[in-house]
């Protein structure tokens, strides 16, 4: 299912394994992100070191190629994933309160309602139906839009921009245009929420950190950057987990049967699906700030390092027989959400959405099945930064 032109970093086999062997020493490969070669880390312990040592492996010092200074400044503003402490810490601290376990728990009734609405809609449409459009993408999309305060009518344009933002088949010019469109839209949204605050994250952020005229206040560019980052992260991760997770469970009926007989097993199963699928192909590249070793491999100042999350998550040091899906496997310290200071901020939200959506889907449609059982018919997204499906036709 790989095809020429897909960066090796973004390639998977039919069991979703990366092309890189788990648990190997780092080696340099062609980068999908830049012209320079990239060290790829596939050892789980190495991965945890690289991701948690922001002093040696910096996101903030990554250079944006071929852009003028003003553009880079705008791209970096509010973009937590492109910053080191203390800049990163300042922004992260403003957001962590929005994603606490308790906070997300308070959203669960609304998430359940959204899931039920979409299941009802699927029933009305009738089989066969595309599970990506009507369920896997639709639910996280609505959840993150409501959380941020994006009006319902703007959602479709948003889904489209989020998908294009991570699409590496677009040329630089197109990607730049998508970035500009997203920022323009978010700018309008920030102004709207400033004038008419609502019960949403953006309004709370403006109220708490961008309306007092203090020197630590967020600029509009920062609010735009934060808003865009959260929207893309909210669209493109959970939705692909829901689609690929459903596909995976349908392909492993014995595993699905385990969960049908013991619904309390879902929390463990969701962690295993996170590990097994690792939808984010790679942690964003870090630049080495001073000569250092990863395991016993020497990397030099200025080198670029990335972690193949699917490879690290199948390292035997983390999970024995890691190529096998085992929904009873209690693996909790996988790196599907990353590790270190850039660990996914929305992890509690993603977990809550999956823990509500998966059981509800399989309960509502006990005979859920792929509309076309031919494995070659599955439409994977091939050149995107996050793995997924373009559609998943199902019957029930």
């Amino acid at each position: 299912m790989t095809e020429s032109g897909t960066p090796r970093m973004f390639q998977r086999d039919e069991n979703f394994a990366s092309v890189f062997a788990p648990g190997s020493p780092p080696r340099q490969v062609e980068s999908p992100f830049a012209d320079e070669p990239l060290w790829v880390v596939t050892d789980w312990a190495d991965a945890r070191v690289v991701l948690s040592d922001a002093d040696h492996f910096s996101r903030g010092r990554i250079e944006f190629q071929g852009m003028d200074a003003e553009r880079v400044r705008k791209l970096r503003a509010g973009m937590l994933l492109a910053q080191d402490p203390p800049d990163h810490t300042r922004l992260r601290r403003m957001l962590t309160g929005e994603f606490t376990v308790r906070r997300i728990r308070s959203l669960e009734p609304r998430i359940t309602e959204i899931v039920d609405d979409h299941l009802n809609a699927l029933e009305r449409i009738g089989p066969p139906a595309d599970l990506v459009a009507h369920f896997a993408l639709a639910i996280p999309s609505l959840v993150i839009c409501e959380l941020l305060g994006v009006p319902y009518d703007d959602r479709e344009a948003f889904q489209d921009r989020a998908a294009r933002t991570i699409d590496f088949t677009l040329d630089d010019e197109e990607r730049r245009r998508v970035g500009d469109e997203s920022r323009d839209y978010m700018g309008i949204l920030v102004r709207r929420h400033r004038q008419h605050p609502g019960d949403d994250l953006l309004s709370r952020l403006i109220g708490a950190h961008a309306s007092g005229g203090g020197e630590d206040d967020l600029s509009d560019d920062e609010l735009i950057g934060i808003g865009n980052l959260l929207l893309i992260a909210g669209h493109e991760t959970t939705s692909n987990m829901l689609a690929l997770g459903t596909l995976t469970l349908l392909r492993h009926p014995d595993q699905l049967a385990v969960l049908r007989s013991d619904p309390d097993g879902w929390p463990v199963a969701v962690e295993e699906l996170l590990r097994y699928l690792s939808v984010v192909h790679t942690a964003l590249p870090r630049v080495v700030t001073a000569d250092v070793t990863i395991g016993s491999t020497r990397v030099a100042e200025g080198d670029l390092v990335a972690v193949s999350l699917p490879a690290a998550n199948r390292d035997a040091a983390l999970a024995e027989d890691g190529d096998d899906l085992d929904v009873l496997r209690e693996v909790t310290n996988h790196v599907a959400f990353g590790h270190g200071i850039h660990h996914c901020l929305g992890a509690p939200l993603a977990r809550a959405e999956m823990l509500i959506a998966f059981p509800a889907l399989f309960q509502r449609f006990p005979r859920l099945a792929l509309a076309d059982p031919d494995p070659t018919s599955v439409a994977y997204r091939k050149r995107t930064f996050i793995y997924g499906l373009t559609e998943l036709p199902v019957t029930w």
Partner: protein
């Protein structure tokens, strides 16, 4: 077991609350809060799991 947390390096991922809800909580800003500093024997495995899952190394069991 004595247990300390480093709120300065905490990144508010909430993994500890999931791993050991009787020992860890998050304040309104999402930062780790200890519900007990001397977890009972039956909590210690969960505490070690929480420490291993913590992305920023903010949980420090002895």
């Amino acid at each position: 077991m004595t247990l300390e947390v480093d709120r300065y390096i905490c990144v508010g991922a909430g993994n500890c609350v999931l791993a050991a809800p009787e020992v860890f909580d998050q304040d309104d800003d999402g930062l780790v809060q200890l519900l007990q500093t001397d977890p009972a024997a039956d909590q210690q495995e969960a505490v070690r799991r929480a420490a291993s899952r913590c992305p920023s190394g903010a949980i420090l069991p002895d």
